[in-house]
Subunit: 230 residues, 2 copies
DNA sequence: AGTCGTCAAGAGCAGTGCTCTCGTTTTTTG
DNA sequence: CAAAAAACGAGAGCACTGCTCTTGACGACT
């Protein structure tokens, strides 16, 4: 009986996957606003209303794409870090940063969906938060490993007392790491994505051309701020 | 005759301004995607096609709003810096940063229009670039002033030679400032906007609550990276 | 074998950006 | 001052969107 049930569910899963694939392709070429359920249906040879059997609304399709996107960039960063010699923490930081940047440059529209302005009228459901932490978890692990190895030499500028109860999520990612380093890591993390935002969203147009080199240099400065310089 | 000509042009300018005002209000409440020419016309008691006498397309209306937005945030930063004691460079940097952040938090949708994902199908015309540099010009002036006053004590980590021909626009903003400091300023600038992006776009939800304090601390770390720490 | 749920299809609603035409009003020109 | 020209608001209309509802057919489970 499971076979027959699976027969139906298999074609359903297949169609669902085909929808997201086409949607992702449209997203990559047209951007988030150009994603049209009717266009997806048209490309599949379906009628538009049939799509709603699989995704109750456009937002649900967007949510699926967002989750896929977080997992894709998270997997890219995890893979990049796994390929690194684990005891070279500066290299790991730089490699993870480049992985983020390169994925974003290769998938600008998907990146915009994840880290750009929220899609109007769209509220990210809780389902996304599990996938969204994969990249920052890698960063946390790098810093945490570096700290355990005694490779973090940051100036001892204590953050203000108002912040001691903040950023609990980051603390969990970096157990044992003192507040000073945690907040430096948060700063570096926001700087990393700030750069990628600027690059992907065109803020460097006609200004910085060799963006990979410039990004690398900036990430080295951030590593120094974190105390990771060798 | 100029009076009679002005009569018509005056009402035209007035209507144009009313359109942008209503559009800005809709933008603030609904976001960029919710901006509808028909809704603006409806609110003005006009018929939708009449709007096209004033803005040939939705993109042109968006462009007007974008230019206004760049000027608004630029003016806010300029004003904040002007109110500072000009010889306290760390304070000036922090004040300018807080001005950016506070404007962005107060006008999240307008900020998203300026620094978020580009509106799909919309290509920013050249008209915007004049207004868009006002905020970064303030930052450049702060660093430049600090350098002239001998108040910049940054470690002498030279950027790689590939970058010596890059970022000419930044160099013009900071005449006489050496490359090392220029690239540190660029890093700090991207970190500043990276933070604001994360905050405005909801990346700190359920993670960091006292965002002003955390931002301030991060900006102090960036000041140290630039060599502005006192 | 019959029932029940799933499915694709189609029509339809309200909304969008945008174009075109048609009178009217205002400005400019002869 | 009168005629030509330009600007304007209104309306209809096109192609498109997300989404809902209904209808009829096919497949799955008892």
């Amino acid at each position: 009986m499971t076979a027959s049930r699976t027969a139906r569910e298999r074609v359903r899963a297949e169609l669902t996957r085909e929808i997201t694939d086409i949607a992702r392709r449209q997203l990559a070429t047209e951007g988030a606003g150009g994603l049209s359920l009717r266009a997806v249906a048209r490309e599949m040879g379906m009628v538009s209303s049939a799509i709603y059997r699989y995704f109750p609304s456009r937002d649900d399709l967007l949510t699926a794409l967002i989750i896929d996107g977080y997992n894709a960039i998270g997997a890219a960063v995890e893979q990049a870090d796994a390929d690194c010699p684990q005891d070279d923490f500066l290299l790991r930081w730089l490699t993870a940063g480049h992985a983020v940047r390169e994925w974003a440059v290769a998938h600008p529209h998907e990146y915009a969906l994840l880290y750009g302005s929220p899609v109007p009228g769209y509220q990210a459901p809780q389902d996304t938060i599990a996938a969204r932490v994969r990249d920052v978890a890698v960063l946390g692990r790098i810093i945490s490993d570096a700290w355990q190895a005694g490779a973090v030499h940051a100036p001892a500028t204590e953050p203000p007392p108002e912040l001691t109860a903040e950023a609990a999520a980051f603390r969990e990612l970096m157990p044992g790491v003192p507040d000073n380093v945690i907040w430096r890591a948060i700063s570096a993390w926001t700087a990393l994505y700030g750069w990628v935002n600027f690059e992907v969203f065109g803020q460097f147009n006609n200004t910085i051309e060799d963006r990979r080199t410039a990004f690398d240099h900036s990430m080295r400065l951030m590593a120094a701020t974190m105390g990771l310089a060798q």
